[in-house]
Protein backbone atom coordinates (compact mmCIF):
# COMPACT_ATOMS: atom_id res chain seq x y z
CA UNK A 1 0.00 0.00 0.00
CA UNK A 2 1.31 3.43 -0.82
CA UNK A 3 -0.45 5.90 1.48
CA UNK A 4 -2.05 4.36 4.49
CA UNK A 5 -4.20 5.63 7.30
CA UNK A 6 -5.50 3.99 10.44
CA UNK A 7 -8.88 2.45 9.77
CA UNK A 8 -9.36 0.74 13.13
CA UNK A 9 -7.28 1.52 16.18
CA UNK A 10 -6.18 -1.02 18.82
CA UNK A 11 -9.16 -0.20 21.04
CA UNK A 12 -11.70 -0.74 18.27
CA UNK A 13 -9.97 -4.00 17.36
CA UNK A 14 -10.00 -5.22 20.96
CA UNK A 15 -13.71 -4.46 21.13
CA UNK A 16 -14.35 -6.30 17.86
CA UNK A 17 -12.38 -9.33 19.06
CA UNK A 18 -14.41 -9.43 22.28
CA UNK A 19 -17.59 -9.31 20.21
CA UNK A 20 -16.24 -12.09 17.97
CA UNK A 21 -15.52 -14.23 21.03
CA UNK A 22 -19.09 -13.70 22.21
CA UNK A 23 -20.49 -14.57 18.77
CA UNK A 24 -18.29 -17.65 18.58
CA UNK A 25 -19.39 -18.87 22.00
CA UNK A 26 -23.00 -18.41 20.97
CA UNK A 27 -22.49 -20.20 17.67
CA UNK A 28 -20.68 -23.11 19.31
CA UNK A 29 -23.48 -23.46 21.82
CA UNK A 30 -26.17 -23.27 19.16
CA UNK A 31 -24.52 -25.94 17.05
CA UNK A 32 -23.57 -28.02 20.07
CA UNK A 33 -19.84 -28.08 19.41
CA UNK A 34 -17.96 -28.49 22.66
CA UNK A 35 -14.19 -28.35 22.84
CA UNK A 36 -13.31 -26.95 19.42
CA UNK A 37 -9.74 -26.58 18.11
CA UNK A 38 -8.65 -23.11 17.04
CA UNK A 39 -6.28 -22.54 14.12
CA UNK A 40 -4.93 -19.18 12.99
CA UNK A 41 -3.69 -18.42 9.47
CA UNK A 42 -0.27 -16.76 9.32
CA UNK A 43 0.35 -13.97 10.09
CA UNK A 44 -2.55 -11.70 10.97
CA UNK A 45 -4.91 -14.58 11.60
CA UNK A 46 -2.61 -15.96 14.28
CA UNK A 47 -2.59 -12.59 16.08
CA UNK A 48 -6.39 -12.52 16.21
CA UNK A 49 -6.65 -16.24 17.02
CA UNK A 50 -4.24 -15.73 19.94
CA UNK A 51 -6.66 -13.29 21.54
CA UNK A 52 -9.80 -15.28 20.71
CA UNK A 53 -8.17 -18.43 22.04
CA UNK A 54 -7.51 -16.72 25.35
CA UNK A 55 -10.97 -15.18 25.64
CA UNK A 56 -12.71 -18.45 24.87
CA UNK A 57 -10.47 -20.21 27.39
CA UNK A 58 -9.69 -23.09 25.04
CA UNK A 59 -7.53 -25.72 26.67
CA UNK A 60 -5.70 -27.21 23.73
CA UNK A 61 -2.93 -25.10 22.18
CA UNK A 62 -3.55 -22.85 19.20
CA UNK A 63 -2.61 -24.20 15.77
CA UNK A 64 -0.80 -22.13 13.15
CA UNK A 65 -1.33 -22.56 9.45
CA UNK A 66 0.92 -21.30 6.66
CA UNK A 67 -0.71 -21.45 3.25
CA UNK A 68 2.33 -20.54 1.10
CA UNK A 69 2.59 -24.04 -0.34
CA UNK A 70 -1.08 -24.11 -1.32
CA UNK A 71 -1.42 -20.71 -2.95
CA UNK A 72 -2.90 -20.68 -6.45
CA UNK A 73 -0.50 -18.03 -7.76
CA UNK A 74 2.78 -19.94 -7.32
CA UNK A 75 3.28 -20.43 -11.05
CA UNK A 76 2.66 -16.72 -11.58
CA UNK A 77 4.66 -15.10 -8.83
CA UNK A 78 6.72 -17.88 -7.28
CA UNK A 79 7.10 -18.92 -3.69
CA UNK A 80 5.81 -16.48 -1.10
CA UNK A 81 8.78 -14.60 0.36
CA UNK A 82 7.85 -15.44 3.93
CA UNK A 83 7.17 -19.06 4.65
CA UNK A 84 6.58 -20.19 8.19
CA UNK A 85 6.10 -23.71 9.41
CA UNK A 86 2.55 -24.88 9.90
CA UNK A 87 2.01 -26.14 13.42
CA UNK A 88 -0.94 -28.29 14.37
CA UNK A 89 -0.27 -29.53 17.91
CA UNK A 90 -3.29 -31.81 18.05
CA UNK A 91 -4.67 -34.23 15.48
CA UNK A 92 -7.61 -32.69 13.61
CA UNK A 93 -9.40 -35.90 12.62
CA UNK A 94 -13.08 -35.73 13.65
CA UNK A 95 -12.55 -32.43 15.44
CA UNK A 96 -14.57 -29.23 15.18
CA UNK A 97 -12.24 -26.46 14.01
CA UNK A 98 -12.39 -22.68 14.21
CA UNK A 99 -10.29 -21.21 11.40
CA UNK A 100 -9.24 -17.60 12.04
CA UNK A 101 -7.94 -15.03 9.55
CA UNK A 102 -7.56 -11.25 9.57
CA UNK A 103 -9.15 -10.11 6.30
CA UNK A 104 -11.49 -12.03 4.02
CA UNK A 105 -11.58 -10.70 0.45
CA UNK A 106 -11.29 -13.04 -2.54
CA UNK A 107 -11.61 -16.20 -0.44
CA UNK A 108 -8.49 -17.71 -2.01
CA UNK A 109 -6.56 -17.81 1.26
CA UNK A 110 -9.39 -19.74 2.90
CA UNK A 111 -9.58 -22.13 -0.04
CA UNK A 112 -5.86 -22.79 0.38
CA UNK A 113 -6.17 -23.10 4.16
CA UNK A 114 -8.94 -25.70 3.82
CA UNK A 115 -6.72 -27.68 1.46
CA UNK A 116 -3.87 -27.59 4.00
CA UNK A 117 -6.22 -28.77 6.74
CA UNK A 118 -7.50 -31.67 4.68
CA UNK A 119 -3.92 -32.79 4.08
CA UNK A 120 -3.57 -33.06 7.85
CA UNK A 121 -6.75 -35.01 8.40
CA UNK A 122 -10.54 -35.03 8.15
CA UNK A 123 -12.11 -32.49 10.49
CA UNK A 124 -15.73 -32.94 11.60
CA UNK A 125 -16.51 -29.31 10.77
CA UNK A 126 -14.84 -25.95 10.15
CA UNK A 127 -16.11 -22.54 11.28
CA UNK A 128 -14.59 -19.43 9.74
CA UNK A 129 -13.97 -16.32 11.85
CA UNK A 130 -12.39 -13.22 10.32
CA UNK A 131 -11.62 -9.87 11.88
CA UNK A 132 -12.72 -8.03 8.75
CA UNK A 133 -14.74 -8.95 5.71
CA UNK A 134 -14.83 -6.89 2.52
CA UNK A 135 -16.15 -6.99 -1.03
CA UNK A 136 -14.30 -8.81 -3.80
CA UNK A 137 -15.18 -12.45 -3.22
CA UNK A 138 -14.04 -14.72 -6.06
CA UNK A 139 -15.00 -18.02 -4.47
CA UNK A 140 -18.13 -19.29 -2.70
CA UNK A 141 -16.76 -18.77 0.80
CA UNK A 142 -18.57 -16.98 3.61
CA UNK A 143 -17.47 -16.24 7.16
CA UNK A 144 -19.45 -17.43 10.20
CA UNK A 145 -18.19 -14.77 12.58
CA UNK A 146 -16.99 -11.32 11.52
CA UNK A 147 -15.54 -8.34 13.42
CA UNK A 148 -15.88 -5.57 10.85
CA UNK A 149 -17.72 -5.30 7.56
CA UNK A 150 -15.77 -2.96 5.30
CA UNK A 151 -17.21 -1.05 2.36
CA UNK A 152 -14.25 -0.34 0.11
CA UNK A 153 -13.46 0.67 -3.46
CA UNK A 154 -11.90 -2.08 -5.54
CA UNK A 155 -8.51 -0.36 -5.51
CA UNK A 156 -8.64 0.13 -1.77
CA UNK A 157 -7.06 -2.25 0.63
CA UNK A 158 -7.12 -3.00 4.32
CA UNK A 159 -4.33 -4.70 6.17
CA UNK A 160 -3.70 -5.70 9.75
CA UNK A 161 -0.43 -4.60 11.29
CA UNK A 162 0.77 -6.01 14.57
CA UNK A 163 1.11 -7.93 16.77
CA UNK A 164 1.58 -5.14 19.34
CA UNK A 165 -0.35 -2.94 18.87
CA UNK A 166 -2.93 -4.30 16.43
CA UNK A 167 -3.87 -1.61 13.91
CA UNK A 168 -6.00 -2.03 10.81
CA UNK A 169 -4.61 0.12 8.01
CA UNK A 170 -6.44 1.34 4.98
CA UNK A 171 -4.87 2.56 1.75
CA UNK A 172 -4.89 2.56 -2.02
CA UNK A 173 -2.94 0.00 -3.98
CA UNK A 174 -0.35 1.69 -6.19
CA UNK A 175 -0.48 0.79 -9.86
CA UNK A 176 2.22 -1.82 -10.42
CA UNK A 177 4.86 -1.10 -13.01
CA UNK A 178 5.78 -3.85 -15.44
CA UNK A 179 9.39 -3.83 -14.34
CA UNK A 180 8.59 -4.52 -10.73
CA UNK A 181 10.04 -7.70 -9.31
CA UNK A 182 7.37 -10.40 -9.32
CA UNK A 183 8.19 -11.43 -5.74
CA UNK A 184 7.36 -8.02 -4.38
CA UNK A 185 3.72 -8.30 -5.29
CA UNK A 186 3.40 -11.65 -3.52
CA UNK A 187 2.12 -10.02 -0.39
CA UNK A 188 -0.36 -12.14 1.45
CA UNK A 189 -2.31 -9.08 2.45
CA UNK A 190 -2.73 -7.76 -1.06
CA UNK A 191 -5.28 -10.35 -2.15
CA UNK A 192 -7.29 -11.53 0.79
Amino acid sequence: MSKTETWKDPEQIAEAVTQMARDLRELLEKRGLPNPLMIGIHTGGVWIADRLHEQLGLEEPLGHLDISFYRDDFTRIGLHPQVRPSYLPVGIDDRHLILVDDVLQSGRTIRAALNVLFDYGRPASVILATLAERSGRELPIAPDVVGFHAKLESNEQIKLSGPHPLIMLRGRIPKRSATQAPQQSADNGSRD
Partner: protein, 334 residues
Protein backbone atom coordinates in the same frame (compact mmCIF):
# COMPACT_ATOMS: atom_id res chain seq x y z
CA UNK B 1 15.49 -10.12 -22.90
CA UNK B 2 16.45 -9.12 -19.40
CA UNK B 3 20.16 -8.60 -18.93
CA UNK B 4 21.50 -11.38 -16.79
CA UNK B 5 23.84 -10.65 -13.97
CA UNK B 6 27.39 -11.34 -15.11
CA UNK B 7 28.63 -12.48 -11.72
CA UNK B 8 26.07 -15.13 -11.03
CA UNK B 9 24.86 -17.69 -13.54
CA UNK B 10 22.28 -18.92 -11.02
CA UNK B 11 20.29 -15.76 -10.30
CA UNK B 12 17.69 -14.01 -12.43
CA UNK B 13 17.51 -10.26 -13.02
CA UNK B 14 15.71 -9.77 -9.70
CA UNK B 15 18.31 -11.70 -7.72
CA UNK B 16 16.09 -14.75 -7.29
CA UNK B 17 17.35 -18.29 -7.75
CA UNK B 18 16.81 -19.78 -11.18
CA UNK B 19 19.43 -22.53 -10.94
CA UNK B 20 21.22 -23.85 -7.89
CA UNK B 21 24.78 -24.62 -8.91
CA UNK B 22 27.13 -23.51 -6.16
CA UNK B 23 27.28 -21.60 -2.88
CA UNK B 24 29.88 -19.31 -4.42
CA UNK B 25 28.53 -15.86 -5.21
CA UNK B 26 25.32 -16.25 -3.19
CA UNK B 27 24.63 -13.67 -0.51
CA UNK B 28 24.10 -14.38 3.16
CA UNK B 29 20.52 -13.14 2.75
CA UNK B 30 19.79 -15.69 0.05
CA UNK B 31 21.28 -18.55 2.08
CA UNK B 32 19.18 -17.48 5.07
CA UNK B 33 16.12 -17.34 2.80
CA UNK B 34 16.74 -20.95 1.75
CA UNK B 35 17.11 -22.02 5.39
CA UNK B 36 13.92 -20.22 6.39
CA UNK B 37 11.89 -21.66 3.55
CA UNK B 38 13.20 -25.10 4.44
CA UNK B 39 11.83 -24.62 7.97
CA UNK B 40 8.41 -24.27 6.39
CA UNK B 41 8.80 -27.53 4.50
CA UNK B 42 9.74 -29.54 7.59
CA UNK B 43 6.11 -29.59 8.73
CA UNK B 44 5.03 -31.27 5.49
CA UNK B 45 6.44 -34.53 6.86
CA UNK B 46 3.97 -34.25 9.75
CA UNK B 47 0.94 -34.06 7.47
CA UNK B 48 -1.20 -37.14 6.98
CA UNK B 49 -0.81 -36.46 3.26
CA UNK B 50 2.92 -35.78 3.02
CA UNK B 51 2.60 -33.60 -0.05
CA UNK B 52 2.04 -29.97 -0.99
CA UNK B 53 0.66 -29.01 -4.40
CA UNK B 54 3.34 -26.41 -5.17
CA UNK B 55 4.96 -28.06 -8.19
CA UNK B 56 1.94 -29.97 -9.45
CA UNK B 57 2.25 -30.52 -13.18
CA UNK B 58 6.00 -29.88 -13.22
CA UNK B 59 8.41 -32.55 -14.40
CA UNK B 60 11.71 -33.02 -12.62
CA UNK B 61 14.37 -35.30 -14.09
CA UNK B 62 17.08 -36.90 -11.99
CA UNK B 63 20.21 -37.19 -14.11
CA UNK B 64 22.79 -39.04 -12.05
CA UNK B 65 25.88 -39.74 -14.10
CA UNK B 66 27.54 -40.82 -10.85
CA UNK B 67 26.13 -43.28 -8.36
CA UNK B 68 24.24 -42.10 -5.35
CA UNK B 69 21.54 -43.54 -3.16
CA UNK B 70 20.89 -41.00 -0.43
CA UNK B 71 21.10 -37.84 -2.51
CA UNK B 72 19.06 -39.23 -5.39
CA UNK B 73 16.42 -40.66 -3.08
CA UNK B 74 16.02 -37.48 -1.06
CA UNK B 75 15.86 -35.39 -4.23
CA UNK B 76 13.20 -37.74 -5.57
CA UNK B 77 11.25 -37.63 -2.33
CA UNK B 78 11.56 -33.84 -2.20
CA UNK B 79 10.19 -33.55 -5.73
CA UNK B 80 7.35 -35.94 -4.96
CA UNK B 81 6.44 -34.05 -1.80
CA UNK B 82 6.16 -30.96 -4.00
CA UNK B 83 3.73 -32.97 -6.19
CA UNK B 84 6.06 -32.88 -9.19
CA UNK B 85 6.37 -35.81 -11.56
CA UNK B 86 9.80 -37.39 -11.32
CA UNK B 87 11.84 -39.06 -14.02
CA UNK B 88 14.78 -41.13 -12.89
CA UNK B 89 17.02 -41.64 -15.86
CA UNK B 90 19.18 -44.67 -15.76
CA UNK B 91 22.31 -43.25 -17.27
CA UNK B 92 24.26 -46.48 -17.61
CA UNK B 93 21.67 -47.91 -19.98
CA UNK B 94 20.65 -44.62 -21.56
CA UNK B 95 21.59 -42.87 -24.74
CA UNK B 96 24.61 -41.33 -23.04
CA UNK B 97 26.13 -44.76 -22.86
CA UNK B 98 25.47 -45.05 -26.57
CA UNK B 99 27.42 -41.87 -27.24
CA UNK B 100 24.85 -39.06 -27.01
CA UNK B 101 26.38 -35.78 -25.87
CA UNK B 102 25.30 -34.12 -22.66
CA UNK B 103 23.82 -31.23 -24.59
CA UNK B 104 21.77 -33.57 -26.76
CA UNK B 105 20.46 -35.32 -23.67
CA UNK B 106 19.45 -31.92 -22.27
CA UNK B 107 17.77 -30.84 -25.53
CA UNK B 108 15.85 -34.09 -25.82
CA UNK B 109 14.52 -33.90 -22.30
CA UNK B 110 13.62 -30.25 -22.77
CA UNK B 111 11.68 -31.30 -25.85
CA UNK B 112 9.68 -33.51 -23.48
CA UNK B 113 8.97 -30.39 -21.39
CA UNK B 114 11.05 -31.34 -18.40
CA UNK B 115 11.10 -28.31 -16.10
CA UNK B 116 14.03 -29.12 -13.84
CA UNK B 117 17.16 -31.23 -14.03
CA UNK B 118 18.84 -32.53 -10.92
CA UNK B 119 22.32 -33.41 -12.06
CA UNK B 120 25.23 -35.29 -10.58
CA UNK B 121 28.33 -35.69 -12.69
CA UNK B 122 31.94 -36.74 -12.17
CA UNK B 123 33.25 -33.66 -13.99
CA UNK B 124 33.46 -30.31 -12.24
CA UNK B 125 31.54 -27.57 -14.02
CA UNK B 126 28.99 -29.86 -15.70
CA UNK B 127 26.00 -28.14 -14.12
CA UNK B 128 27.33 -24.67 -14.96
CA UNK B 129 27.70 -25.80 -18.54
CA UNK B 130 24.15 -27.16 -18.61
CA UNK B 131 22.76 -24.01 -17.01
CA UNK B 132 24.42 -21.91 -19.70
CA UNK B 133 22.70 -23.91 -22.40
CA UNK B 134 19.35 -24.57 -20.73
CA UNK B 135 16.11 -23.01 -21.97
CA UNK B 136 15.00 -19.94 -20.04
CA UNK B 137 12.14 -21.89 -18.51
CA UNK B 138 14.13 -24.81 -17.17
CA UNK B 139 16.28 -25.04 -14.07
CA UNK B 140 19.42 -26.97 -13.21
CA UNK B 141 20.12 -28.11 -9.67
CA UNK B 142 23.59 -29.35 -8.84
CA UNK B 143 23.57 -32.64 -6.94
CA UNK B 144 27.38 -32.82 -6.97
CA UNK B 145 29.81 -32.03 -9.78
CA UNK B 146 33.24 -33.63 -9.60
CA UNK B 147 35.43 -32.16 -6.89
CA UNK B 148 33.75 -28.79 -7.26
CA UNK B 149 30.50 -28.34 -5.44
CA UNK B 150 27.61 -30.04 -3.67
CA UNK B 151 25.52 -27.07 -2.60
CA UNK B 152 22.35 -28.81 -1.37
CA UNK B 153 24.43 -31.03 0.94
CA UNK B 154 26.12 -27.92 2.35
CA UNK B 155 22.77 -26.19 2.85
CA UNK B 156 21.22 -29.15 4.63
CA UNK B 157 24.27 -29.18 6.90
CA UNK B 158 23.83 -25.45 7.57
CA UNK B 159 20.16 -26.08 8.27
CA UNK B 160 21.05 -28.82 10.76
CA UNK B 161 23.65 -26.61 12.45
CA UNK B 162 21.18 -23.73 12.70
CA UNK B 163 18.54 -25.93 14.26
CA UNK B 164 20.97 -27.08 16.95
CA UNK B 165 23.12 -24.01 17.51
CA UNK B 166 21.03 -21.06 16.36
CA UNK B 167 23.42 -18.20 15.84
CA UNK B 168 26.20 -18.77 13.28
CA UNK B 169 28.25 -15.79 14.39
CA UNK B 170 29.76 -17.41 17.48
CA UNK B 171 30.47 -20.92 16.27
CA UNK B 172 33.59 -23.00 15.88
CA UNK B 173 33.10 -25.63 13.20
CA UNK B 174 35.65 -28.32 12.36
CA UNK B 175 35.58 -30.33 9.13
CA UNK B 176 37.59 -33.55 9.31
CA UNK B 177 38.68 -35.84 6.50
CA UNK B 178 39.52 -35.78 2.83
CA UNK B 179 39.27 -32.03 2.27
CA UNK B 180 41.28 -32.33 -0.94
CA UNK B 181 38.80 -34.40 -2.91
CA UNK B 182 35.60 -33.33 -1.19
CA UNK B 183 33.06 -31.16 -2.99
CA UNK B 184 31.04 -31.33 0.20
CA UNK B 185 33.87 -29.71 2.20
CA UNK B 186 34.32 -26.99 -0.42
CA UNK B 187 30.63 -26.09 -0.36
CA UNK B 188 30.51 -26.30 3.44
CA UNK B 189 33.48 -23.95 3.85
CA UNK B 190 31.88 -21.41 1.49
CA UNK B 191 28.50 -21.64 3.20
CA UNK B 192 29.93 -21.39 6.72
CA UNK B 193 31.99 -18.33 5.83
CA UNK B 194 29.08 -16.69 3.98
CA UNK B 195 26.82 -17.25 6.97
CA UNK B 196 29.37 -15.55 9.20
CA UNK B 197 30.91 -18.46 11.13
CA UNK B 198 34.09 -16.89 12.54
CA UNK B 199 36.07 -20.07 13.20
CA UNK B 200 36.13 -22.74 10.50
CA UNK B 201 38.83 -25.40 10.77
CA UNK B 202 39.82 -28.16 8.42
CA UNK B 203 41.59 -31.21 9.79
CA UNK B 204 43.28 -33.77 7.58
CA UNK B 205 46.54 -35.53 6.89
CA UNK B 206 48.80 -33.38 4.74
CA UNK B 207 48.17 -35.57 1.70
CA UNK B 208 44.43 -34.83 1.84
CA UNK B 209 44.60 -31.08 2.39
CA UNK B 210 44.79 -28.74 -0.61
CA UNK B 211 47.65 -26.26 -0.54
CA UNK B 212 46.59 -22.67 0.21
CA UNK B 213 43.29 -23.86 1.69
CA UNK B 214 43.67 -21.34 4.52
CA UNK B 215 44.04 -18.34 2.22
CA UNK B 216 41.50 -19.54 -0.32
CA UNK B 217 38.66 -20.18 2.13
CA UNK B 218 39.56 -18.20 5.23
CA UNK B 219 39.84 -21.33 7.36
CA UNK B 220 42.56 -22.69 9.63
CA UNK B 221 44.25 -26.00 8.82
CA UNK B 222 45.19 -28.65 11.38
CA UNK B 223 46.86 -32.02 11.20
CA UNK B 224 46.05 -33.26 14.66
CA UNK B 225 42.47 -34.30 15.34
CA UNK B 226 42.43 -33.73 19.08
CA UNK B 227 43.91 -30.24 18.74
CA UNK B 228 41.79 -29.40 15.73
CA UNK B 229 38.46 -30.11 17.39
CA UNK B 230 39.35 -28.43 20.70
CA UNK B 231 36.31 -26.43 21.93
CA UNK B 232 34.49 -26.97 18.63
CA UNK B 233 30.69 -26.56 18.59
CA UNK B 234 30.26 -28.71 15.52
CA UNK B 235 32.44 -31.50 14.11
CA UNK B 236 31.70 -32.58 10.55
CA UNK B 237 33.29 -35.87 9.51
CA UNK B 238 33.78 -36.54 5.81
CA UNK B 239 33.71 -39.89 4.15
CA UNK B 240 37.05 -41.43 3.22
CA UNK B 241 36.64 -42.92 -0.19
CA UNK B 242 38.12 -46.38 -0.25
CA UNK B 243 39.64 -45.78 -3.66
CA UNK B 244 41.99 -43.23 -2.05
CA UNK B 245 43.60 -46.04 -0.13
CA UNK B 246 44.99 -47.44 -3.36
CA UNK B 247 46.42 -44.15 -4.52
CA UNK B 248 49.19 -43.81 -1.92
CA UNK B 249 47.50 -40.84 -0.24
CA UNK B 250 46.68 -42.94 2.79
CA UNK B 251 48.58 -45.93 4.06
CA UNK B 252 45.56 -47.90 5.31
CA UNK B 253 42.08 -47.58 6.77
CA UNK B 254 43.41 -48.83 10.04
CA UNK B 255 46.06 -46.17 10.23
CA UNK B 256 43.62 -43.45 9.23
CA UNK B 257 41.29 -44.44 12.04
CA UNK B 258 44.21 -44.57 14.42
CA UNK B 259 45.07 -40.93 13.68
CA UNK B 260 41.86 -39.29 12.46
CA UNK B 261 39.01 -41.55 13.51
CA UNK B 262 36.52 -39.89 15.84
CA UNK B 263 36.08 -41.71 19.15
CA UNK B 264 34.28 -40.67 22.33
CA UNK B 265 37.65 -40.21 23.98
CA UNK B 266 38.93 -37.85 21.31
CA UNK B 267 35.66 -35.97 21.19
CA UNK B 268 36.26 -35.00 24.83
CA UNK B 269 38.36 -32.00 23.74
CA UNK B 270 35.38 -30.51 21.89
CA UNK B 271 32.62 -28.60 23.69
CA UNK B 272 30.42 -30.86 25.87
CA UNK B 273 27.37 -30.09 23.69
CA UNK B 274 29.23 -30.63 20.43
CA UNK B 275 27.16 -31.72 17.43
CA UNK B 276 28.65 -34.49 15.28
CA UNK B 277 27.71 -34.65 11.62
CA UNK B 278 28.52 -36.81 8.62
CA UNK B 279 27.12 -36.53 5.09
CA UNK B 280 27.00 -40.32 4.77
CA UNK B 281 27.52 -43.03 3.93
CA UNK B 282 29.60 -43.69 7.04
CA UNK B 283 32.49 -46.12 7.10
CA UNK B 284 32.22 -47.27 10.69
CA UNK B 285 35.65 -47.81 12.17
CA UNK B 286 37.31 -45.65 9.51
CA UNK B 287 36.02 -42.11 10.02
CA UNK B 288 34.31 -42.70 13.31
CA UNK B 289 33.51 -45.18 16.00
CA UNK B 290 30.01 -46.67 16.11
CA UNK B 291 29.73 -45.29 19.63
CA UNK B 292 30.03 -41.75 18.26
CA UNK B 293 27.95 -42.36 15.14
CA UNK B 294 25.04 -43.73 17.20
CA UNK B 295 25.68 -41.47 20.20
CA UNK B 296 23.40 -38.75 21.44
CA UNK B 297 25.56 -35.97 20.01
CA UNK B 298 25.29 -37.40 16.50
CA UNK B 299 22.68 -35.86 14.19
CA UNK B 300 23.53 -37.97 11.16
CA UNK B 301 20.01 -39.30 10.59
CA UNK B 302 18.50 -35.88 11.20
CA UNK B 303 20.71 -34.60 8.38
CA UNK B 304 18.99 -37.05 6.06
CA UNK B 305 15.49 -35.83 7.01
CA UNK B 306 16.58 -32.21 6.78
CA UNK B 307 17.94 -32.89 3.31
CA UNK B 308 14.40 -33.39 2.03
CA UNK B 309 13.14 -30.06 3.40
CA UNK B 310 16.16 -28.14 2.12
CA UNK B 311 15.87 -29.69 -1.33
CA UNK B 312 12.15 -28.87 -1.43
CA UNK B 313 13.02 -25.25 -0.64
CA UNK B 314 15.68 -24.98 -3.35
CA UNK B 315 13.58 -26.73 -5.99
CA UNK B 316 10.45 -24.69 -5.33
CA UNK B 317 12.42 -21.44 -5.29
CA UNK B 318 13.93 -22.22 -8.70
CA UNK B 319 10.66 -23.40 -10.23
CA UNK B 320 8.87 -20.38 -8.78
CA UNK B 321 10.89 -18.03 -10.96
CA UNK B 322 10.44 -20.00 -14.18
CA UNK B 323 7.31 -18.30 -15.37
CA UNK B 324 8.64 -14.77 -15.05
CA UNK B 325 11.82 -15.89 -16.79
CA UNK B 326 9.91 -17.42 -19.66
CA UNK B 327 7.89 -14.21 -19.98
CA UNK B 328 11.05 -12.14 -19.92
CA UNK B 329 12.44 -14.28 -22.73
CA UNK B 330 9.25 -13.68 -24.70
CA UNK B 331 8.11 -17.26 -24.55
CA UNK B 332 4.68 -18.53 -23.85
CA UNK B 333 5.42 -21.44 -21.59
CA UNK B 334 3.40 -22.10 -18.52
Amino acid sequence: MIQESQESPQLDAHGNLKHFLTIEGLSRELLIEILEKAEGFVSVAQQAVKKVPLCRGKVIANLFFENSTRTRTTFELAAKRLSADVLNLNISTSATAKGETLLDTLRNLEAMHVDMFVVRHASSGTTHFMARHAHPHSSIVNAGDGGHSHPTQAMLDMFTIRRHKGDFSRLSVAIVGDIMHSRVARSQMLALKTLGVPDVRVIAPRTLLPTHVEEAFGVSAHHDLREGIRDADVVIMLRIQRERMNSALLPSEHEYFHLFGLTEKRLATAKPDVTVMHPGPINRGVEMDSQVADGERSVILEQVSNGIAVRMAVMSMCIGTQNSRAQAAGEDHV
